[in-house]
Subunit: 336 residues, 2 copies
């Protein structure tokens, strides 16, 4: 299987590192031999080599340009037209409100007949229906397990483990940054200090407004609604309240009532629409949505199975990288 | 696909009811046509009909004998030798300490070359390794999703959604009866009254000692250790403390410290062994293991994905019946 990566930041680099170690072993055991034939970045050059790039050199190089063979790559779309690949990994940084540039990359990959895997929530949140239609037409897969709760199985869980089950609604705590800010405030840390901690740890989105104003949670809610409830919604349609207005007094008052405030995403059917909302809610301390030490909690309401929940423990880039492996294994299994 | 059921209690009956409705539709949509060719019970007779039994008559009949064709069925093993079937559903009532009679039924089914599905935890808890070896030799599947947390995906989650991931350990709240007794005691209900409520609702095991003394939790812990950590342990080897000694004073003292007491199962590697233990623990109110309104909580510690959790909301026989459908769909998919 020939892989092309668009975007080579934390997630892409970690994926490639693990491909040289445990991921490579897992793939080989499944009879899958993987070659990375191209990597495109916005600021560190791009490289294509049909014989397979040296992964250690890619990880070490300050610019990928030196590893490139053939005529120069003009743009990411030029890269995608030319890279000799079977599977495209779309890993660019994202605007969660509009979903670009990820959507354009996914579409270009599918049009060319590549399977596409992304860890970005944008494509599932902002344009899933047309992308899945395109994928079906091209008989290729478009997978995005990493879009929500990093690599914790959400989309694959429903697709592979709950055949025939209909998702009727959901509720979740899906944004780690706001959860950590609010739990910091419960311990007396100021909003600003808690946010700075998240940014220093590389957990907060580059633009903190994406977390604080609820855009990240809204995009995740849309991805779930679109993928699991066959909705056709987008972040701009979400009823969205962020946590910017939550004061230390609010947090303390909630604690006195044995409640915790968290940014909660909800999805429910309303006639033929699916209504997605994001807002801070004060919930009892023993409500599973506010449980300690969880980076994400998602409860699915279903027809045949009642409520099923999924929990994501303390997570980072390793989990997101694993989502790519898991999706890649699914594609490889189908090619057999 | 020809199905034979051994055991026709709450779970078996619910499965057959749903087979006439939503389960039948789901199977047909997947191109699977199902016929029930035999049902064996201990006290209500047995019936075999190669052309397929009338499900509505089976559900209504006081004894299955009237629906039987051919010479009488002498025993459940005689039934299993003769029933013309592809898949055996093992649904008898269980002794969770020794795993019988379920283990004998599973073995007989596999020996005859049937795929076997059970909702019983006994076979996975007490004899998994030899049963899986037999299944491999016969090129048949032995599946048991319903053994732990009813139909909530546990075994299928790891097998289908976490390829290559190693489970390093686990902790869980897996026994509903003790959780409801203890949460009743937090609200002032007596142990005995809370237990009676569970028995009246049909949630407690027939022999309350299985719940109270931790045998049920121990069997579930062994099933998880054997299936997901390649252990070879059994309930008698579990370090097991039940909740019989937990007093109202203990519960109140825990509450004052903002803790809740629950019966917790833990599994961890200790050299080449997996150590499984069951004991009441006092955990902080916001620990996910004691979250409100969950009939089961399981946290898996993994190598590549950190901690992943699975939650089972308020559940009953519908969830266990779904586990059978989910396993059946997996077998049907492989037969294609």
């Amino acid at each position: 299987v020939r892989l092309a990566l668009v975007g080579f930041g934390n997630v892409g680099r970690r994926f490639v590192e693990l491909l040289r170690g445990p991921y490579g072993r897992i793939l080989r055991r499944a009879g899958v031999h993987v070659r990375v034939t191209g990597i495109a970045t916005a600021r560190h050059g791009s490289a294509i080599d049909a014989r397979g790039l040296s992964l250690s050199r890619c990880l070490k190089a300050r610019s990928l340009q030196a590893l490139h063979t053939g005529r120069p790559v003009a743009s990411s779309l030029d890269f995608m037209r030319r890279v000799p690949a079977d599977v495209l990994l779309e890993l660019t940084t994202l605007d969660p409100r509009g979903g670009q540039p990820a959507i354009g990359h996914v579409r270009a990959g599918l049009r060319r007949g590549l399977h596409v895997i992304t860890a970005n929530k944008g494509p599932a949140a902002c344009g899933l229906r047309s992308l899945l239609t395109l994928a079906r037409k091209k008989r290729r897969r478009f997978l995005f397990e990493g879009a929500v709760m990093d690599g914790t199985p959400v989309f694959n869980l429903v697709a592979r483990c709950l055949p025939g089950v209909r998702v009727l609604g959901f509720r979740g705590m899906l944004n780690t940054t706001t959860a950590r800010i609010l739990s910091g405030m419960e311990k007396g840390t100021s909003f600003a200090a808690a946010l700075r901690e998240m940014q220093d740890a590389g957990i907060a989105e580059a633009d903190p407004a994406n977390d604080i104003e609820g855009w990240d949670a809204a995009a995740k809610g849309c991805a779930i609604a679109n993928a699991l409830m066959d909705a056709n919604t987008r972040p701009s349609q979400v009823e969205r309240v962020g946590i910017a207005e939550v004061t230390p007094d609010d947090v303390r008052a909630a604690l006195r009532m044995r409640n915790k405030i968290r940014l909660i995403v909800r999805g429910e059917r309303e006639g033929r629409r699916v209504r997605v909302s994001v807002a801070p809610e004060a919930l009892p301390q023993d409500d599973v949505l506010v449980a300690a030490d969880q980076d994400g909690v998602l409860i699915l309401e279903t027809d045949l199975m009642g409520e099923i929940g999924i929990l994501e423990g303390p997570s980072g880039v390793d989990q997101t990288a694993y989502a790519l492996l898991s999706d890649l294994m699914a594609i490889a299994a189908e090619r057999d």
